[in-house]
Symmetry: C2
Amino acid sequence: MVRRKMTIVGGFRFAAVAAGIKKDGRSDLALVVADGGAVAAGVFTRNLVRAAPVDLAAERLRRSRSAHAILVNSGCANACTGRTGLDAALYSTRAIAQALMIDESVVLPASTGVIGVPLPHERVIACADDLVAGLDPGGAEAFAEAICTTDRWPKLAEASLGEGRATLLGIAKGAGMIHPDMGLPGPPQATLLAFLFTDAKVARDALEYALVTAVDKSFNACSVDGDTSTNDTVIALSSGASGYTPSTGELGEAMHAVCEKLARSIVADGEGASHVAEIHVRGLATTEDARIIARTVATSLLVKTALHGKDANWGRLLAAAGRSGVRFDPSRARIAIGDADVVRDGVTLGPEAEKRAATVLAQSSYVIEIELGSGPGEFVYLTSDLGHGYVDVNAAYRS
Amino acid sequence: MVRRKMTIVGGFRFAAVAAGIKKDGRSDLALVVADGGAVAAGVFTRNLVRAAPVDLAAERLRRSRSAHAILVNSGCANACTGRTGLDAALYSTRAIAQALMIDESVVLPASTGVIGVPLPHERVIACADDLVAGLDPGGAEAFAEAICTTDRWPKLAEASLGEGRATLLGIAKGAGMIHPDMGLPGPPQATLLAFLFTDAKVARDALEYALVTAVDKSFNACSVDGDTSTNDTVIALSSGASGYTPSTGELGEAMHAVCEKLARSIVADGEGASHVAEIHVRGLATTEDARIIARTVATSLLVKTALHGKDANWGRLLAAAGRSGVRFDPSRARIAIGDADVVRDGVTLGPEAEKRAATVLAQSSYVIEIELGSGPGEFVYLTSDLGHGYVDVNAAYRS
């Protein structure tokens, strides 16, 4: 078996244990610590129903704009748990703070798993010392594994900054309840968790700007099932340990590259999914119009089941665009599936074209282009096919 | 086998044939004729992408406000077919008009089936004389069968007016691509087809008012898959043959009762569905707020797969409400599944309550009440569970 190169990012140490929160004994509690502290920025679900750890992390970030540690558990979302849930998040982060001998206000919590059950904080407290004792600069993969729920694989991606002088590492989880809509704290939607760590030296506002911009075109532009979670959280930490300061452009590019890879890995790992489709919508009046159409197509059940069946059913693509609420002229529609043009001027190019398209749809990933006019507005959305596996996972999730 | 009583509505005759539009040889072409003409009102999909027969029927209704016949085919939606499709709708209705010796402008077309293929009008033309020759006052059931596509059963419902002096008969089809959003012609979303026939004497405006009001709280408040069709059409015809004039209230009630029965039958017949859930949302500021939340819950994949699994996963109900965009206080949420209260003040009432709820979810139909405050806004939405059958039908639909 080929072993992935161990990723080290200056200033960060990682650890993971099995605290007994997941029923199957897999690791379920992960900790990352920036020993010298880190500049921090975060975006959180805009679902009105927000889990206790989301409320607490958003509030702590708003106050301090920096963080020393992130404590993540899988197996329990600690959402819809009222005061009991908030207390559980407080007690858990306090136990970690005490073991690290830091203030609890710089420990950010994040949770993922079943909704409606409070975090069993006593299990976190019982593991706090072990978790801290296990902190290791090479522990990123163990961290990535511990935050998984229905994920089939852990998700890591990295980019280099300053020609190797600094690193940006991203770790994410997510396979279902994936339809992120995250923004800055404020009017508050998957469970997607992602954490970005860099040893580059970045100011708080620059970090937040790069994060918000990258999330908007990556995580916020991908969907497995159209359901936005109560727990979605993306947090970026910069330790500055490398001493290298990237330009806004360089940081933005690296952040987008890492977020895009993680988003693609999440969609590929979509519950029951076997294909990743990139929906490119073009020719609309505005980017927002293009985004609305791309999202409507990407979340259509009829589109997603057709993709599962490798059926070049372009009529469903066009019908989904038509119900999006955005105005366009259907008689100008052009649709291509991979390199196969299937629709021009709103009508089919015939059975041969559709046969070519069907061979594209057999691939594990492909691009679907939908051009609806000559305007400048365009948007790209990532989506998965929807098959029996999704039903299996979600009809049985809690039983 | 018990035979259903034959429904007769004064002034109407029905016929159906197998024209070879469906590949499997089942009946696929249906005709209803009001020999003395009928006052007519219709509502059509608001999907921007509208099938040729929808454009043609809406235009003819707008001009004449009356109709002599409706020609319906299954097996082909004649949508996204450009000029060829419009011509096919024109030629088909012309052939029927000629066989009936009436003007083609009073023949309304409706189609359902695969998108992107023009209606093979030559098959309709070849059958026109046979179809007309078969017209029979007792042919409503044959009509109902011929308009089915993936439906497991034909859908008929009736109400009596004036204590039996007049009748309102409704015939509908639909099992997938069901998320109707129909309105009057104008800014123009399932394939749902429904036709309402009455021998009561009703003025055009009264008929339209009763239809629009009833559709809004029945067909427009039900969902199988969240995908709004290019072909949704509901047309009401009044022959006046009974001579009985109902009050606005009586007509409205009868129309709502028939539309509600048909909508419930469609949701029960949802592709792969085995349960019908009535989602009652209450306590919002406005009816529109309640409608948005009810629709978001009713179309959530995670909710629909949980219902399939008979899992009282109330967290998914609340999370769907939370991403709807409507403001409410989650800590005031109350949820009941059938007679089992499961959530009060936003938190679970415990495992015993959830067990009781799970027994409710084993039933073929049940009510889920979601109360989110003390406002007057409430709305009821019908939805189905989503299981393997849906994937089977829709991943293989065209192959």
